[in-house]
Amino acid sequence: MIVVGSGAGGGMAAYVLTRAGHKVLMLEAGRDYDPVAETPMFNTNAEAPLRGTRTPDKHFGFYDATVDGGWDVPGEPYTMADGTDFLWWRARMLGGRTNHWGRLSLRFSPHDFKAATRDGLGADWPFEYDTLAPWYDKTETIVGVCGDNPGLDDIPDAAPGVLHKPPQPRVPELLLAAAAKKLGIPTAYMHRAILTRPLDNRQPCFWATPCGRGCSIGAAFQTTTSLLPLALETGNLKIVTDAMVHTVAVDDTGRATGVTFVNRKTRKPETLSARVVVLAASACETARILLNSRTDALPDGVANSSGQVGRNLMDSTGASFTGLVPALENRPRYNEDGHTGNHIFIPWWGHAAQAKGELNFPRGYHFELGGAFPAPGMGAGSSAAGYGLALKERVRSRYGAYVGLSLRGEMVASDDCYMEIDGEVRDQWGIPVPKFHWKWSEHELNQVAHGRDTARQIIETMGGQMHNPDQLPEEAIKKGGEIIHEVGTTRMGTDPGTSVTNEWGQTWDVPNLYVMDGGVFASNPHKNCTLTIMTLAMRNADHLAQAMGRGNV
């Protein structure tokens, strides 16, 4: 069978299928990539051009692992409707975006699966939390996630022994937690896909080096140091890189027969046949492939009798609130790198208030807390003022004295947010490109306003001052796509009329065609999507493997 894409979804699908004894051919658009040889673990900003700063060639800085991608991919544009400002992050490399993702890995909670029944917005999932719980345990066991079970309603417990021990909070995080506590707002250990004990051939985190560069010792999860090597070990996986899939072929009986891709090296199309096709090219690429697969017989594209392919596109809401905290000025230095991400966070604490109708927005959000002595880069200059010794004194005293609260919230699917195929523009491989439509609704704007006011209260309770406290939510909210949690474009459900796949990611229309990326999300809870992408891919690949074993596909 063919798996398209080697990121979170494709990596997990290939792992499960090959270990169940099935032969898998993985097609990946990007180049081959070896994190052991290519990760600049200890390189400093001083060794990089422009001090490692962000440029249009490397949008998240020189050392970020992303190959040939970012907000733009050379030769592969996308378009937007008038009034839409959407960002689409891609990486053209084996392992996709798992090589440099933030590794924040929160389970969805029981509240998240039937939210539409509760508030009438968007769609329900075709199952409850309890159905996924054991799969979360299995996924976390293989991925390796540090965190704990705080017993809060927004953070379901993992089975005993699954989670790795999290690192304790840093000084600014402790101060943030104390301020939040005074306001009745809880904090908890962040869950991140970071090993703090050995697993398989992977070593535990050694508390240094930014994970966005990738992790050559395998502590930070990426498919290229974990699922893909494990799948290759079975002898059942073959990976073909530089293979840009553009269509799935479907025969007269409605079965998928294979895929066509452009070999990026020869620039020629090649066609392969397969018993089963699994698409995991990321939510928008998978929808693009399905829509581009239209034929005279299927003018709306493959697996699109519902008309829902490309619709229901969701990202997380995002906003960033920062402030200077005098209590943190001139504090004693120590090595604050930790696992280089946030050690604690503020989970959503408003379920009860929402149930009582006290909030003017549906669904929740969380805050990722920031504050540490960072590895100095060009940002070190931003606190400078005046000149001379007074300038130096000020920069020194403010080093490590800023805090940040990054809001990540749930948006509700809407008719205003979707993608389709642009009728005119093609990429350098001749493949028609997606065209995005986007508009935030009152729900998201009210949520961000609530987050802004809460962040301000927390920062002021610490004796600090928030930058830009009166910023309008329209200005504070990040662009659609900017949080890089795009999902929903091939949603799962119980009704073939309103969803693209069933609960197993199997498309309603084409029984041997599966989707195993974030496209299948029915809603997009505020907990960053990737752990759930992998959990669904594991559950659904397991179901597929068993069905194949029984000859049912």
């Binding site: 000084v171 120590y334 020194r396």
Partner: protein, 226 residues
């Protein structure tokens, strides 16, 4: 009070305030008419960047050609060292190699850097014209006192006279760049006291006792508890 003696008294106050690490109390508006701000007409840098898949382990030197003239480098160096002077064993901005990085920065083909190039080159040009306007000399050959007289008019955006708005915006860009480049140099990082980027085995050790003592003191003052 003549122009110069009034300047001189301010200059003394500035030295005192600078030595004590306090920001200056006031800055007088210049009484002479400053040189006009004249944006330079610059040819865009058309070099190619380092690309979307550079070698990250052994970064090659930036592939674009450095474009600052010797005169511009010297003037930038004088200003950079006014911003970040040497302090004990810690080198000044130029001592830490900031001008090479600044040259790489303004010569880079990327939009932000080209924007900075326009502001910085126009600003350096303004400094020369203003030095000539006030003292009939080039900026680098002015006395330190004279240099600071000009800098004082543009270094404090919150109280800059309207006539100096654009030079002050230039100085702000220069300051952020020079400070960023200095503090990301090995010498600057050491001055800040960055202690990370070293591997540690076992559990993360967490804050030191000293760091916790400081935190507890602050929590007490704020009436907060963990």
């Amino acid at each position: 009070m003549t122009h110069l003696t009034r300047r001189e008294s301010f200059r003394r106050a500035a030295i005192l305030a600078g030595a004590s690490g306090l920001p200056f109390g006031c800055a007088p508006a210049s009484e002479s008419v400053p040189a006009a701000w004249q944006p330079l007409e610059l040819k865009p840098v058309t070099a190619t960047g380092y690309g979307t898949d550079p070698n990250l382990i052994h970064p090659a030197p930036a592939p674009w050609i450095l474009t600052l003239t010797e005169k511009q480098r010297n003037l930038a160096g004088v200003l950079a060292d006014i911003l970040i002077p040497a302090e004990g064993d810690i080198p000044s901005a130029t001592g830490a190699g900031v001008i090479d990085v600044l040259d790489e920065w303004v010569s880079a083909p990327y939009p932000l850097q080209q924007e900075h190039r326009a502001v910085l080159l126009s600003g350096l040009d303004w400094c020369e014209r203003e030095a000539d306007n006030r003292f009939g000399s080039t900026f680098a050959t002015l006395t330190e006192m004279q240099q600071l007289e000009i800098v004082d008019d543009i270094a404090f955006p919150e109280r800059t006279a309207a006539a100096f708005a654009q030079p002050a915006a230039f100085f702000d860009v220069l300051r952020r760049l020079v400070a960023g480049m200095f503090y990301s140099s090995p010498e600057g990082a050491a001055e800040l006291g960055y202690l990370g980027n070293v591997p540690i085995s076992g559990d993360w050790p967490g804050p030191t006792a000293e760091a916790m003592a400081h935190l507890n003191e602050q929590l007490n003052k704020l009436g907060l508890e963990l």
